[in-house]
Amino acid sequence: MRLALDLFTVLAVSAGAFFFLAGTVGLLRFPDVLTRLHALTKADNLGLGLIVLGLLPRAEGPLAALKLLAVWLFALLAAATVAQLVARVALRRNGRSPGGSAAG
């Protein structure tokens, strides 16, 4: 049973790290402000979510596991809100071109 949990942790944490990498590559390679924001926020939250998922079996008690989930939930809410705000600023700065590529 212990081995299964460890294997689960290894798989989930490596998947989370992969999504972080995808988010960072998206941040660096994408041409447009809004696409970068999309890639970054989505990949980040998924990466953090998988890492928290992987760390859950290692948490001491239900309370510690709950706190881990709380961290992820808060990061999720914060990132979602921030993505909206930053996107509005980016739109505002580069003129009303939500569709076109922002002249960033």
């Binding site: 460890d6 942790t9 290894v10 944490v13 490596s14 989370g16 790290a17 972080f20 990498l21 988010g23 960072t24 941040l27 660096l28 402000v33 970068r36 924001l37 970054l40 926020t41 980040d44 939250n45 990466g47 953090l48 890492i51 928290v52 760390l55 290692r58 948490a59 001491e60 510690a64 706190k67 881990l68 709380a70 961290v71 808060f74 990061a75 914060a78 990132a79 809100t81 921030v82 705000l85 930053v86 996107a87 509005r88 600023v89 980016a90 739109l91 505002r92 700065r93 580069n94 922002a102 960033g104």
Partner: protein, 97 residues
């Protein structure tokens, strides 16, 4: 097991460091803010991994505070970006408070 967690944390740090390149070349301020947001989220993940590796549950609170600060940094950026400091970029320029 702890070694794997520390290795994953190191990998995340490298990923976040690569993400910081966007701050150097980011054309707009929004890009730089996104890289700072990535730093925040990546930092949270690293702190959580190290907390699990070193069996220190107290470090989870550090990650919680870091999540809070990352959110406030972005909100401060948005408030700074709007001329009136109202933080609502949707307001048309002319009738701002």
């Amino acid at each position: 097991m702890a070694e794997f967690l520390v290795a994953a944390a190191a990998f995340l740090l490298i990923t976040v460091a690569a993400g910081l390149v966007r701050i150097l070349q980011g054309p707009t301020a929004a890009d730089r803010m996104m890289a700072a947001q990535l730093l925040g989220t990546g930092g949270i993940a690293v702190v959580l991994l190290l907390a699990a590796a070193a069996e220190r549950p107290a470090a989870v609170d550090v990650a919680l505070v870091l999540a809070l600060l990352a959110a406030f940094a972005a909100v401060a950026f948005v408030k700074g970006a709007t001329s009136s400091g109202s933080g609502d970029p949707e307001l048309p320029e002319d009738d701002r408070g």
